[in-house]
Protein backbone atom coordinates (compact mmCIF):
# COMPACT_ATOMS: atom_id res chain seq x y z
CA UNK A 1 0.00 0.00 0.00
CA UNK A 2 1.50 3.36 -0.94
CA UNK A 3 2.40 5.75 1.86
CA UNK A 4 1.58 8.68 -0.39
CA UNK A 5 1.06 9.08 -4.08
CA UNK A 6 3.30 11.23 -6.27
CA UNK A 7 1.71 14.64 -6.54
CA UNK A 8 2.94 15.99 -9.87
CA UNK A 9 3.90 14.87 -13.35
CA UNK A 10 7.54 15.62 -12.42
CA UNK A 11 7.22 13.14 -9.54
CA UNK A 12 5.77 10.53 -11.88
CA UNK A 13 8.63 11.09 -14.33
CA UNK A 14 11.23 10.75 -11.56
CA UNK A 15 9.58 7.58 -10.30
CA UNK A 16 9.57 6.06 -13.79
CA UNK A 17 13.23 7.00 -14.29
CA UNK A 18 14.14 5.32 -10.98
CA UNK A 19 12.20 2.17 -11.92
CA UNK A 20 13.79 2.11 -15.38
CA UNK A 21 17.26 2.45 -13.83
CA UNK A 22 16.49 -0.41 -11.45
CA UNK A 23 15.20 -2.68 -14.21
CA UNK A 24 18.20 -1.90 -16.43
CA UNK A 25 20.91 -2.17 -13.78
CA UNK A 26 19.68 -4.61 -11.11
CA UNK A 27 16.73 -6.82 -12.11
CA UNK A 28 17.40 -6.81 -15.85
CA UNK A 29 20.90 -8.37 -15.97
CA UNK A 30 19.97 -11.48 -13.94
CA UNK A 31 16.84 -12.00 -16.03
CA UNK A 32 18.82 -11.45 -19.22
CA UNK A 33 21.44 -13.91 -17.97
CA UNK A 34 18.87 -16.59 -17.15
CA UNK A 35 17.13 -15.99 -20.49
CA UNK A 36 20.44 -16.31 -22.32
CA UNK A 37 21.26 -19.51 -20.41
CA UNK A 38 17.85 -20.98 -21.30
CA UNK A 39 18.26 -19.98 -24.97
CA UNK A 40 21.74 -21.56 -25.02
CA UNK A 41 20.46 -24.79 -23.44
CA UNK A 42 17.71 -25.06 -26.09
CA UNK A 43 20.17 -24.46 -28.92
CA UNK A 44 18.97 -21.01 -29.98
CA UNK A 45 22.34 -19.37 -29.41
CA UNK A 46 25.94 -20.54 -29.02
CA UNK A 47 28.99 -21.32 -31.13
CA UNK A 48 27.75 -24.76 -32.22
CA UNK A 49 24.01 -24.09 -32.18
CA UNK A 50 21.94 -25.54 -34.99
CA UNK A 51 18.45 -24.47 -33.93
CA UNK A 52 15.96 -25.57 -31.33
CA UNK A 53 16.72 -28.82 -29.54
CA UNK A 54 15.72 -30.50 -26.27
CA UNK A 55 18.63 -32.93 -26.49
CA UNK A 56 20.48 -31.42 -23.53
CA UNK A 57 17.38 -31.37 -21.33
CA UNK A 58 16.65 -35.02 -22.14
CA UNK A 59 20.01 -35.93 -20.60
CA UNK A 60 18.70 -34.81 -17.21
CA UNK A 61 16.64 -37.96 -16.83
CA UNK A 62 19.61 -40.32 -17.10
CA UNK A 63 20.43 -42.16 -13.87
CA UNK A 64 24.18 -41.48 -14.20
CA UNK A 65 23.71 -37.81 -15.07
CA UNK A 66 26.32 -35.48 -13.55
CA UNK A 67 23.66 -32.80 -13.42
CA UNK A 68 21.14 -34.76 -11.36
CA UNK A 69 23.90 -35.93 -9.01
CA UNK A 70 25.23 -32.40 -8.60
CA UNK A 71 21.78 -30.97 -7.85
CA UNK A 72 21.05 -33.75 -5.37
CA UNK A 73 24.41 -33.27 -3.67
CA UNK A 74 24.10 -29.48 -3.54
CA UNK A 75 20.56 -29.61 -2.13
CA UNK A 76 21.70 -32.15 0.49
CA UNK A 77 24.69 -30.01 1.51
CA UNK A 78 22.56 -26.84 1.67
CA UNK A 79 19.78 -28.58 3.63
CA UNK A 80 22.15 -30.13 6.17
CA UNK A 81 24.06 -26.85 6.52
CA UNK A 82 21.00 -24.65 7.02
CA UNK A 83 19.30 -27.14 9.35
CA UNK A 84 22.48 -27.62 11.37
CA UNK A 85 23.26 -23.91 11.51
CA UNK A 86 19.70 -22.96 12.47
CA UNK A 87 19.45 -25.67 15.15
CA UNK A 88 22.85 -24.77 16.66
CA UNK A 89 22.14 -21.04 16.52
CA UNK A 90 18.67 -21.37 18.10
CA UNK A 91 20.14 -23.51 20.90
CA UNK A 92 23.04 -21.10 21.49
CA UNK A 93 20.75 -18.07 21.39
CA UNK A 94 18.53 -19.60 24.07
CA UNK A 95 21.40 -20.65 26.31
CA UNK A 96 23.70 -17.65 25.85
CA UNK A 97 21.28 -14.77 25.40
CA UNK A 98 22.53 -12.98 28.48
CA UNK A 99 26.20 -13.57 27.67
CA UNK A 100 26.40 -12.80 23.96
CA UNK A 101 23.95 -9.97 23.45
CA UNK A 102 26.15 -7.08 24.59
CA UNK A 103 29.61 -5.60 24.48
CA UNK A 104 32.69 -7.25 23.03
CA UNK A 105 31.05 -10.69 23.23
CA UNK A 106 28.43 -9.57 20.71
CA UNK A 107 31.18 -8.03 18.56
CA UNK A 108 32.92 -11.41 18.41
CA UNK A 109 29.86 -12.88 16.70
CA UNK A 110 30.37 -10.46 13.81
CA UNK A 111 33.93 -11.64 13.11
CA UNK A 112 32.90 -14.54 10.80
CA UNK A 113 30.96 -12.02 8.68
CA UNK A 114 34.24 -10.53 7.44
CA UNK A 115 35.70 -13.91 6.47
CA UNK A 116 35.45 -14.33 2.69
CA UNK A 117 34.68 -17.77 1.29
CA UNK A 118 38.20 -18.26 -0.03
CA UNK A 119 39.69 -17.54 3.42
CA UNK A 120 37.10 -19.77 5.14
CA UNK A 121 38.21 -22.54 2.77
CA UNK A 122 41.88 -21.87 3.63
CA UNK A 123 41.13 -22.09 7.37
CA UNK A 124 38.90 -25.15 6.80
CA UNK A 125 41.76 -26.84 4.96
CA UNK A 126 44.18 -25.99 7.77
CA UNK A 127 41.83 -27.34 10.43
CA UNK A 128 40.20 -30.35 8.78
CA UNK A 129 42.96 -31.72 6.52
CA UNK A 130 44.71 -34.99 7.27
CA UNK A 131 47.70 -33.01 8.64
CA UNK A 132 45.56 -30.18 9.98
CA UNK A 133 44.91 -28.89 13.46
CA UNK A 134 42.27 -31.51 14.34
CA UNK A 135 44.54 -34.32 13.13
CA UNK A 136 47.37 -32.95 15.29
CA UNK A 137 45.08 -32.82 18.31
CA UNK A 138 43.99 -36.41 17.55
CA UNK A 139 47.68 -37.42 17.35
CA UNK A 140 48.35 -35.65 20.64
CA UNK A 141 45.41 -37.53 22.21
CA UNK A 142 46.86 -40.79 20.92
CA UNK A 143 43.94 -41.48 18.58
CA UNK A 144 46.10 -41.64 15.42
CA UNK A 145 49.76 -42.39 14.70
CA UNK A 146 49.93 -41.15 11.08
CA UNK A 147 48.11 -38.35 9.21
CA UNK A 148 46.47 -40.82 6.83
CA UNK A 149 44.73 -42.52 9.76
CA UNK A 150 42.71 -39.35 10.30
CA UNK A 151 39.22 -39.64 8.74
CA UNK A 152 38.76 -37.78 5.46
CA UNK A 153 36.95 -34.58 6.33
CA UNK A 154 37.91 -32.75 3.14
CA UNK A 155 37.78 -33.91 -0.50
CA UNK A 156 35.21 -36.46 0.71
CA UNK A 157 32.15 -37.60 -1.26
CA UNK A 158 29.73 -36.56 1.50
CA UNK A 159 30.86 -32.94 1.58
CA UNK A 160 31.66 -33.06 5.30
CA UNK A 161 34.39 -30.40 5.04
CA UNK A 162 32.08 -28.13 3.01
CA UNK A 163 29.28 -28.44 5.58
CA UNK A 164 31.57 -27.97 8.60
CA UNK A 165 33.24 -24.90 7.11
CA UNK A 166 29.88 -23.31 6.23
CA UNK A 167 28.60 -24.11 9.73
CA UNK A 168 31.64 -22.57 11.41
CA UNK A 169 31.06 -19.31 9.56
CA UNK A 170 27.25 -19.20 9.80
CA UNK A 171 26.44 -20.29 13.36
CA UNK A 172 27.81 -17.15 15.10
CA UNK A 173 25.89 -14.58 13.06
CA UNK A 174 22.74 -16.71 13.00
CA UNK A 175 22.99 -16.88 16.81
CA UNK A 176 23.10 -13.10 16.85
CA UNK A 177 20.10 -12.97 14.51
CA UNK A 178 18.05 -15.24 16.79
CA UNK A 179 19.09 -13.24 19.88
CA UNK A 180 17.85 -10.07 18.18
CA UNK A 181 14.59 -11.68 17.03
CA UNK A 182 14.03 -13.01 20.54
CA UNK A 183 14.38 -9.50 21.96
CA UNK A 184 12.47 -7.63 19.22
CA UNK A 185 9.52 -10.03 19.14
CA UNK A 186 9.30 -10.05 22.96
CA UNK A 187 9.36 -13.84 22.97
CA UNK A 188 9.89 -13.92 26.75
CA UNK A 189 6.51 -12.22 27.29
CA UNK A 190 4.74 -14.85 25.20
CA UNK A 191 6.60 -17.65 26.98
CA UNK A 192 5.53 -16.21 30.36
CA UNK A 193 1.94 -16.05 29.12
CA UNK A 194 2.07 -19.64 27.89
CA UNK A 195 3.54 -20.81 31.20
CA UNK A 196 0.80 -18.91 33.09
CA UNK A 197 -1.78 -20.71 30.97
CA UNK A 198 -0.31 -24.06 32.00
CA UNK A 199 2.25 -24.87 29.29
CA UNK A 200 5.30 -26.83 30.44
CA UNK A 201 8.85 -25.61 29.76
CA UNK A 202 9.30 -27.90 26.75
CA UNK A 203 5.86 -27.10 25.34
CA UNK A 204 6.61 -23.37 25.59
CA UNK A 205 9.84 -23.82 23.63
CA UNK A 206 8.19 -26.10 21.04
CA UNK A 207 4.94 -24.17 20.60
CA UNK A 208 6.04 -20.57 21.22
CA UNK A 209 9.79 -19.95 20.97
CA UNK A 210 10.64 -22.08 17.92
CA UNK A 211 7.69 -21.01 15.72
CA UNK A 212 8.27 -17.33 16.52
CA UNK A 213 12.01 -17.45 15.89
CA UNK A 214 11.89 -19.63 12.77
CA UNK A 215 9.00 -17.81 11.12
CA UNK A 216 10.72 -14.45 11.55
CA UNK A 217 14.07 -15.85 10.37
CA UNK A 218 12.58 -17.74 7.38
CA UNK A 219 13.57 -15.14 4.72
CA UNK A 220 17.15 -14.97 6.03
CA UNK A 221 17.41 -18.76 6.23
CA UNK A 222 16.07 -19.03 2.67
CA UNK A 223 18.66 -16.57 1.40
CA UNK A 224 21.33 -18.47 3.28
CA UNK A 225 20.10 -21.74 1.72
CA UNK A 226 20.41 -20.15 -1.72
CA UNK A 227 23.90 -18.89 -0.86
CA UNK A 228 25.11 -22.34 0.23
CA UNK A 229 23.44 -23.98 -2.77
CA UNK A 230 25.39 -21.71 -5.11
CA UNK A 231 28.59 -21.47 -3.07
CA UNK A 232 31.81 -21.73 -5.03
CA UNK A 233 35.06 -21.10 -3.17
CA UNK A 234 34.54 -23.51 -0.25
CA UNK A 235 33.50 -26.52 -2.41
CA UNK A 236 36.21 -25.63 -4.95
CA UNK A 237 38.96 -25.88 -2.33
CA UNK A 238 37.47 -28.50 0.02
CA UNK A 239 35.13 -30.59 -2.12
CA UNK A 240 35.69 -33.89 -3.92
CA UNK A 241 35.96 -34.08 -7.72
CA UNK A 242 32.68 -36.02 -7.75
CA UNK A 243 30.00 -35.21 -6.79
CA UNK A 244 30.43 -31.49 -7.45
CA UNK A 245 28.41 -28.57 -6.16
CA UNK A 246 26.35 -26.75 -8.83
CA UNK A 247 28.67 -23.74 -9.26
CA UNK A 248 31.72 -25.96 -9.69
CA UNK A 249 29.97 -28.07 -12.31
CA UNK A 250 28.81 -25.00 -14.24
CA UNK A 251 32.32 -23.55 -14.31
CA UNK A 252 33.91 -26.89 -15.25
CA UNK A 253 31.53 -27.55 -18.12
CA UNK A 254 31.76 -23.92 -19.28
CA UNK A 255 35.56 -23.85 -19.27
CA UNK A 256 36.10 -27.17 -21.08
CA UNK A 257 37.75 -27.13 -24.51
CA UNK A 258 34.90 -29.40 -25.62
CA UNK A 259 32.33 -26.77 -26.62
CA UNK A 260 29.56 -29.38 -26.83
CA UNK A 261 29.50 -29.32 -23.01
CA UNK A 262 28.67 -25.62 -22.88
CA UNK A 263 24.89 -25.93 -23.45
CA UNK A 264 24.81 -28.26 -20.44
CA UNK A 265 26.63 -25.62 -18.35
CA UNK A 266 23.94 -23.10 -19.26
CA UNK A 267 21.19 -25.66 -18.68
CA UNK A 268 22.46 -26.19 -15.13
CA UNK A 269 22.75 -22.43 -14.57
CA UNK A 270 19.21 -21.78 -15.82
CA UNK A 271 17.74 -24.66 -13.81
CA UNK A 272 19.53 -23.47 -10.67
CA UNK A 273 18.35 -19.87 -11.15
CA UNK A 274 14.72 -20.88 -11.75
CA UNK A 275 14.73 -23.16 -8.70
CA UNK A 276 16.18 -20.43 -6.49
CA UNK A 277 13.71 -17.80 -7.80
CA UNK A 278 10.76 -20.14 -7.15
CA UNK A 279 12.04 -21.00 -3.67
CA UNK A 280 12.50 -17.35 -2.71
CA UNK A 281 9.11 -16.42 -4.16
CA UNK A 282 7.34 -19.19 -2.21
CA UNK A 283 8.99 -18.31 1.10
CA UNK A 284 8.60 -14.55 0.74
CA UNK A 285 4.92 -14.82 -0.21
CA UNK A 286 4.27 -16.78 2.97
CA UNK A 287 6.21 -14.38 5.17
CA UNK A 288 4.16 -11.42 6.40
CA UNK A 289 7.25 -9.28 7.01
CA UNK A 290 8.25 -9.57 3.35
CA UNK A 291 5.08 -7.66 2.29
CA UNK A 292 4.74 -9.26 -1.14
CA UNK A 293 1.28 -8.20 -2.26
Amino acid sequence: MPIFAPNSSADTLRRRAALAAFVTLAAGPPLWGVGYALAYSFGFVGALSSGFTVEHWQGLGKADSDVARSFGFSFAVATVTVAGAAASAVALSQVLRGTLSRGLAATALFVPLVIPGVVAALVGFQFLGSAGLLARLAWRAGLIAEPDQFPALIYDQFGIGIVLTHLAVAVPWLTLLFIRIHANERVDDYVALARTLGAGRLAAVRRVVLPMLLRRAAPTLTLYFAAVLGSYEIPLLLGAQRPEMISILVRRKFALFDLTQRPEAFLIAALYAVLVFVLVLLVFRKTPSAHVS
Binding site: I3, V95, G103, A121, A131, L176, A269
Partner: protein, 265 residues
Protein backbone atom coordinates in the same frame (compact mmCIF):
# COMPACT_ATOMS: atom_id res chain seq x y z
CA UNK B 1 28.61 -1.83 32.56
CA UNK B 2 28.63 -3.01 36.16
CA UNK B 3 25.04 -4.27 35.75
CA UNK B 4 26.15 -6.21 32.69
CA UNK B 5 29.17 -7.65 34.49
CA UNK B 6 27.05 -8.63 37.49
CA UNK B 7 24.50 -10.25 35.21
CA UNK B 8 27.17 -12.31 33.44
CA UNK B 9 28.92 -13.30 36.65
CA UNK B 10 25.56 -14.55 38.02
CA UNK B 11 25.23 -17.02 35.11
CA UNK B 12 26.01 -20.71 35.76
CA UNK B 13 29.65 -21.66 35.17
CA UNK B 14 28.83 -23.94 32.22
CA UNK B 15 27.06 -21.10 30.41
CA UNK B 16 29.99 -18.76 30.96
CA UNK B 17 32.37 -21.46 29.71
CA UNK B 18 30.21 -22.07 26.64
CA UNK B 19 30.12 -18.32 26.00
CA UNK B 20 33.92 -18.14 26.19
CA UNK B 21 34.19 -21.11 23.78
CA UNK B 22 31.87 -19.43 21.26
CA UNK B 23 33.76 -16.13 21.49
CA UNK B 24 37.08 -17.98 21.16
CA UNK B 25 35.70 -19.88 18.17
CA UNK B 26 34.81 -16.62 16.42
CA UNK B 27 38.30 -15.18 16.89
CA UNK B 28 40.15 -18.45 16.23
CA UNK B 29 40.49 -17.99 12.42
CA UNK B 30 42.06 -14.55 12.91
CA UNK B 31 44.50 -15.82 15.54
CA UNK B 32 45.32 -18.93 13.52
CA UNK B 33 45.94 -16.96 10.32
CA UNK B 34 48.17 -14.51 12.22
CA UNK B 35 50.21 -17.46 13.50
CA UNK B 36 50.27 -19.13 10.08
CA UNK B 37 51.53 -15.92 8.45
CA UNK B 38 54.66 -15.93 10.64
CA UNK B 39 55.09 -19.71 11.07
CA UNK B 40 58.23 -21.56 10.03
CA UNK B 41 58.66 -25.30 10.23
CA UNK B 42 55.12 -26.19 11.26
CA UNK B 43 54.85 -29.75 9.98
CA UNK B 44 52.63 -32.51 11.39
CA UNK B 45 52.31 -33.31 14.32
CA UNK B 46 53.48 -30.02 15.88
CA UNK B 47 50.68 -28.02 17.48
CA UNK B 48 52.72 -24.82 17.29
CA UNK B 49 55.43 -23.71 14.84
CA UNK B 50 59.06 -24.29 15.81
CA UNK B 51 60.03 -20.72 14.99
CA UNK B 52 58.52 -17.47 13.80
CA UNK B 53 59.54 -15.26 10.91
CA UNK B 54 58.26 -12.14 9.17
CA UNK B 55 59.59 -13.39 5.82
CA UNK B 56 56.11 -13.83 4.31
CA UNK B 57 55.09 -10.29 5.32
CA UNK B 58 58.33 -8.84 3.90
CA UNK B 59 57.83 -10.77 0.67
CA UNK B 60 54.18 -9.73 0.36
CA UNK B 61 54.89 -6.04 0.88
CA UNK B 62 58.29 -6.10 -0.85
CA UNK B 63 58.96 -4.90 -4.39
CA UNK B 64 57.92 -8.17 -6.07
CA UNK B 65 54.96 -8.93 -3.83
CA UNK B 66 52.41 -6.58 -5.42
CA UNK B 67 50.26 -6.79 -2.30
CA UNK B 68 50.13 -2.99 -2.11
CA UNK B 69 48.74 -2.85 -5.65
CA UNK B 70 46.11 -5.48 -4.83
CA UNK B 71 45.15 -3.64 -1.66
CA UNK B 72 44.69 -0.40 -3.58
CA UNK B 73 42.73 -2.18 -6.30
CA UNK B 74 40.39 -3.86 -3.78
CA UNK B 75 39.91 -0.54 -1.99
CA UNK B 76 39.17 1.37 -5.20
CA UNK B 77 36.68 -1.24 -6.47
CA UNK B 78 34.89 -1.56 -3.13
CA UNK B 79 34.71 2.21 -2.51
CA UNK B 80 33.33 2.88 -5.98
CA UNK B 81 30.79 0.04 -5.81
CA UNK B 82 29.64 1.01 -2.30
CA UNK B 83 29.26 4.69 -3.25
CA UNK B 84 27.29 3.96 -6.42
CA UNK B 85 25.12 1.27 -4.83
CA UNK B 86 24.29 3.34 -1.73
CA UNK B 87 23.36 6.42 -3.78
CA UNK B 88 21.31 4.50 -6.33
CA UNK B 89 19.79 2.32 -3.59
CA UNK B 90 18.58 5.40 -1.69
CA UNK B 91 16.75 6.72 -4.76
CA UNK B 92 15.28 3.35 -5.77
CA UNK B 93 14.26 2.37 -2.23
CA UNK B 94 12.27 5.62 -1.89
CA UNK B 95 10.49 4.92 -5.16
CA UNK B 96 9.68 1.34 -4.13
CA UNK B 97 8.57 2.31 -0.62
CA UNK B 98 5.88 4.59 -1.98
CA UNK B 99 4.88 2.31 -4.86
CA UNK B 100 1.58 0.43 -4.70
CA UNK B 101 3.42 -2.75 -5.77
CA UNK B 102 6.12 -2.27 -3.13
CA UNK B 103 6.35 -5.99 -2.27
CA UNK B 104 6.96 -7.11 -5.82
CA UNK B 105 9.64 -4.50 -6.42
CA UNK B 106 11.42 -5.52 -3.23
CA UNK B 107 11.21 -9.13 -4.33
CA UNK B 108 12.67 -8.13 -7.71
CA UNK B 109 15.55 -6.45 -5.85
CA UNK B 110 16.43 -9.91 -4.51
CA UNK B 111 16.90 -11.24 -8.07
CA UNK B 112 20.63 -10.57 -8.38
CA UNK B 113 21.29 -11.11 -4.70
CA UNK B 114 19.93 -14.68 -4.44
CA UNK B 115 21.99 -16.03 -7.33
CA UNK B 116 25.50 -17.39 -7.04
CA UNK B 117 27.94 -14.70 -8.27
CA UNK B 118 29.89 -17.32 -10.22
CA UNK B 119 26.80 -18.64 -12.00
CA UNK B 120 25.38 -15.20 -12.71
CA UNK B 121 28.81 -14.05 -13.89
CA UNK B 122 28.97 -17.02 -16.27
CA UNK B 123 25.50 -16.24 -17.64
CA UNK B 124 26.40 -12.55 -18.11
CA UNK B 125 29.84 -13.19 -19.60
CA UNK B 126 28.60 -12.97 -23.19
CA UNK B 127 26.96 -9.59 -22.50
CA UNK B 128 30.09 -8.29 -20.80
CA UNK B 129 32.26 -9.54 -23.68
CA UNK B 130 30.04 -7.66 -26.14
CA UNK B 131 30.36 -4.53 -23.98
CA UNK B 132 34.18 -5.00 -23.84
CA UNK B 133 34.05 -5.13 -20.04
CA UNK B 134 35.62 -8.53 -19.36
CA UNK B 135 38.97 -8.33 -17.59
CA UNK B 136 38.56 -4.63 -16.84
CA UNK B 137 38.21 -2.56 -13.68
CA UNK B 138 34.92 -1.09 -14.98
CA UNK B 139 33.60 -4.59 -15.73
CA UNK B 140 34.24 -5.79 -12.19
CA UNK B 141 32.65 -2.64 -10.74
CA UNK B 142 29.61 -3.07 -13.04
CA UNK B 143 29.25 -6.76 -12.13
CA UNK B 144 29.46 -6.13 -8.39
CA UNK B 145 27.18 -3.11 -8.66
CA UNK B 146 24.34 -5.39 -9.88
CA UNK B 147 24.54 -7.32 -6.59
CA UNK B 148 25.14 -4.37 -4.29
CA UNK B 149 22.40 -2.21 -5.84
CA UNK B 150 19.78 -4.87 -5.06
CA UNK B 151 21.18 -5.34 -1.58
CA UNK B 152 21.20 -1.59 -0.89
CA UNK B 153 17.52 -1.34 -1.86
CA UNK B 154 16.59 -4.21 0.48
CA UNK B 155 18.55 -2.61 3.30
CA UNK B 156 17.27 0.95 2.79
CA UNK B 157 13.60 0.21 2.10
CA UNK B 158 12.95 0.03 5.84
CA UNK B 159 14.12 3.63 6.24
CA UNK B 160 11.09 5.06 4.43
CA UNK B 161 7.96 5.15 6.56
CA UNK B 162 4.76 7.21 7.00
CA UNK B 163 6.40 9.37 9.68
CA UNK B 164 9.17 10.36 7.29
CA UNK B 165 6.64 11.05 4.53
CA UNK B 166 4.75 13.31 6.94
CA UNK B 167 7.99 15.16 7.79
CA UNK B 168 8.69 15.65 4.09
CA UNK B 169 5.19 16.98 3.52
CA UNK B 170 5.50 19.31 6.50
CA UNK B 171 8.80 20.72 5.23
CA UNK B 172 7.33 21.24 1.75
CA UNK B 173 4.25 22.92 3.24
CA UNK B 174 6.52 25.29 5.13
CA UNK B 175 8.14 26.34 1.87
CA UNK B 176 11.20 24.11 1.55
CA UNK B 177 12.20 23.12 -1.97
CA UNK B 178 12.87 19.52 -3.03
CA UNK B 179 16.65 19.93 -2.62
CA UNK B 180 16.26 21.60 0.78
CA UNK B 181 14.01 18.77 1.99
CA UNK B 182 16.63 16.28 0.89
CA UNK B 183 19.56 18.16 2.41
CA UNK B 184 17.97 19.43 5.63
CA UNK B 185 15.45 16.68 6.47
CA UNK B 186 16.11 13.38 4.70
CA UNK B 187 19.89 13.29 4.61
CA UNK B 188 20.45 13.94 8.34
CA UNK B 189 17.88 11.27 9.21
CA UNK B 190 19.22 8.81 6.66
CA UNK B 191 22.88 9.23 7.56
CA UNK B 192 23.15 6.30 10.04
CA UNK B 193 21.35 3.93 7.65
CA UNK B 194 23.44 5.15 4.71
CA UNK B 195 26.59 4.45 6.72
CA UNK B 196 25.39 0.90 7.39
CA UNK B 197 24.49 0.42 3.73
CA UNK B 198 27.84 1.82 2.57
CA UNK B 199 29.74 -0.47 4.93
CA UNK B 200 27.74 -3.57 3.98
CA UNK B 201 28.01 -2.99 0.22
CA UNK B 202 31.71 -2.20 0.65
CA UNK B 203 32.04 -5.54 2.43
CA UNK B 204 30.21 -7.48 -0.33
CA UNK B 205 32.53 -5.99 -2.93
CA UNK B 206 35.67 -6.28 -0.78
CA UNK B 207 35.08 -9.99 -0.05
CA UNK B 208 33.89 -10.98 -3.53
CA UNK B 209 35.75 -13.68 -5.36
CA UNK B 210 33.30 -15.20 -7.86
CA UNK B 211 32.57 -12.14 -9.99
CA UNK B 212 36.16 -10.94 -9.95
CA UNK B 213 37.29 -14.37 -11.11
CA UNK B 214 34.69 -14.64 -13.90
CA UNK B 215 34.08 -11.05 -15.10
CA UNK B 216 37.54 -9.87 -14.11
CA UNK B 217 39.03 -12.97 -15.78
CA UNK B 218 41.87 -12.86 -13.25
CA UNK B 219 43.13 -9.57 -14.70
CA UNK B 220 41.86 -7.29 -11.94
CA UNK B 221 44.25 -8.21 -9.12
CA UNK B 222 42.13 -7.81 -6.00
CA UNK B 223 43.05 -9.38 -2.65
CA UNK B 224 40.66 -12.36 -2.81
CA UNK B 225 42.28 -13.45 -6.08
CA UNK B 226 45.71 -13.18 -4.46
CA UNK B 227 44.67 -15.54 -1.63
CA UNK B 228 43.55 -18.05 -4.24
CA UNK B 229 46.75 -17.67 -6.28
CA UNK B 230 48.97 -18.21 -3.24
CA UNK B 231 46.89 -21.20 -2.15
CA UNK B 232 47.18 -22.66 -5.64
CA UNK B 233 50.95 -22.31 -5.54
CA UNK B 234 51.05 -23.96 -2.11
CA UNK B 235 52.32 -20.90 -0.26
CA UNK B 236 50.02 -20.91 2.76
CA UNK B 237 52.12 -18.33 4.65
CA UNK B 238 51.60 -15.73 1.95
CA UNK B 239 47.95 -16.75 1.60
CA UNK B 240 47.54 -16.13 5.34
CA UNK B 241 49.17 -12.68 5.03
CA UNK B 242 46.75 -11.67 2.26
CA UNK B 243 43.80 -13.19 4.16
CA UNK B 244 44.65 -11.01 7.16
CA UNK B 245 44.94 -7.95 4.92
CA UNK B 246 41.43 -8.78 3.69
CA UNK B 247 39.97 -9.18 7.15
CA UNK B 248 41.71 -6.54 9.25
CA UNK B 249 40.23 -3.34 7.70
CA UNK B 250 36.56 -4.39 8.02
CA UNK B 251 37.29 -5.88 11.46
CA UNK B 252 38.80 -2.60 12.63
CA UNK B 253 35.76 -0.68 11.36
CA UNK B 254 33.45 -3.16 13.11
CA UNK B 255 35.29 -2.84 16.39
CA UNK B 256 35.11 0.94 16.17
CA UNK B 257 31.43 0.97 15.25
CA UNK B 258 29.49 -2.25 15.88
CA UNK B 259 26.25 -0.53 14.89
CA UNK B 260 27.34 -0.78 11.23
CA UNK B 261 26.79 -4.53 11.34
CA UNK B 262 24.12 -4.71 14.04
CA UNK B 263 21.51 -2.91 11.94
CA UNK B 264 22.08 -5.23 9.01
CA UNK B 265 21.61 -8.52 10.92
Amino acid sequence: MSVNSNHISSLPAWRRTLGVIVIGWCWLPVVYLALLSVARDWAFPKLLPSSLSLAAWRLAFGPGGNLGTSFMMSTAVALLVATLATGAGLVASRTFAYHRRRGWWVLAAHAPFVLSPVILGTCLLFLFIKLHLVGTFVGVVAGQFIFCYGYAIILLIGFWNPHLAALESLARTLGAGRWQVFRRVLLPLARPMLAVCFFQTFLISWLDFGLVAVIGAGKVPVLTLRVFEYLGSGNVNLAAVVALCLMIPPLAILLLNRRLATLAV
